[in-house]
């Protein structure tokens, strides 16, 4: 599960949403806290559905959370 071309701003958005905990985000998206940890560390690329769930949990568009690393 290492090395994904997708970068994300999950950590930044968590802090911008009142220091939302990884546990709270995991609950909001229906995943384990360890998956949020792996996502933040860039060790896992989420499915399209999970990417949308995460973006919705922050109340922003998907492109504001995820992007290609080359961009």
């Amino acid at each position: 599960m290492t090395g994904t071309p997708i970068a994300n701003e999950i950590r930044r958005w968590r802090f911008e949403r009142g220091e939302m905990t990884q546990e709270a985000l995991a609950q909001a998206c229906g995943v384990t806290r360890q998956t949020i940890i792996a996502l933040e560390a860039g060790k896992y690329a989420p499915s399209l559905e999970l990417a949308f769930r995460i973006a919705r949990a922050f109340g922003v568009g998907i492109d504001e959370v995820f992007r290609w690393k080359t961009e």
């Binding site: 384990t32 998956t35 940890i37 792996a38 559905e49």
Partner: protein, 208 residues
């Protein structure tokens, strides 16, 4: 309400270890009443008290950072390795076609390992409370490990078929029906070992 007591947990673990030793590894010179009577009692009481103490203990940082699927994989790896080692150690008995007593003894011990495994797995799962235990990442890791397990299964089966098909008859005297049955069981156990090892290593690498 039961409260966590480290002293009680330590004593329970000691009783479990002593019970395990008496039932599984004590020398034959110890009388059966002590081995199976007292041993089983210590194992049963020790394991149940250990389970209760673990159930009421607060989660450690390690537990918080480790997913349920990873814990399950490590646990499965440990117990499948234990079952494989136990069967391998009993191979000389199995080679001659086990007598009824030997077969019953092996069966009882294997059953005890299975019960022990199920209880520990249930306790560790229960400690996680009402949270999501598995998600798409766990399933993705599992799918990749499944591929490795299929490869290991195919490799071992082809190896077994080649060995049986290409060896001269005089070198296959060991291949009694019982031994062949156990060879096939070992193939299945090997595939399961590979699967759980791959899952455990993938989670471990992700945590680094």
């Amino acid at each position: 309400m039961v409260k966590y007591n480290p002293l009680w947990l330590g004593s329970s673990l000691l009783a479990t270890a002593a019970g395990l030793w008496l039932v599984f590894w004590s020398p034959d010179s110890i009388v059966p009443a002590l081995r199976y009577g007292l041993g089983s009692l210590m194992l049963g009481l020790g394991a149940s008290q250990t389970a209760i103490q673990f159930a009421v203990r607060r989660q450690t940082t390690f537990e918080q950072n480790t997913s349920a699927a990873e814990v399950k994989a490590w646990l499965s790896l440990f117990f499948i390795a234990a079952i494989t080692a136990y069967l391998l150690a009993g191979t000389p008995v199995l080679a001659t076609g086990p007598a009824m007593d030997d077969a019953a003894r092996i069966g009882v011990k294997l059953m005890a390992i299975l019960v022990f495994w199920i209880v520990i797995a249930a306790v560790l799962r229960g400690r996680r409370g009402d949270v999501v235990l598995e998600d798409e990442r766990d399933r993705a890791i599992d799918a990749r490990a499944e591929g490795w397990a299929r490869g290991a299964l195919t490799f071992c089966l082809i190896g077994l078929v080649a060995m049986l098909g290409l060896s001269p008859a005089e070198k296959l005297l060991w291949a009694t029906p019982t031994m062949l049955a156990f060879q096939l069981l070992f193939v299945l156990l090997s595939a399961s070992l590979v699967r759980n090892a791959v899952v455990a290593v993938m989670y471990w690498r992700d945590r680094q």
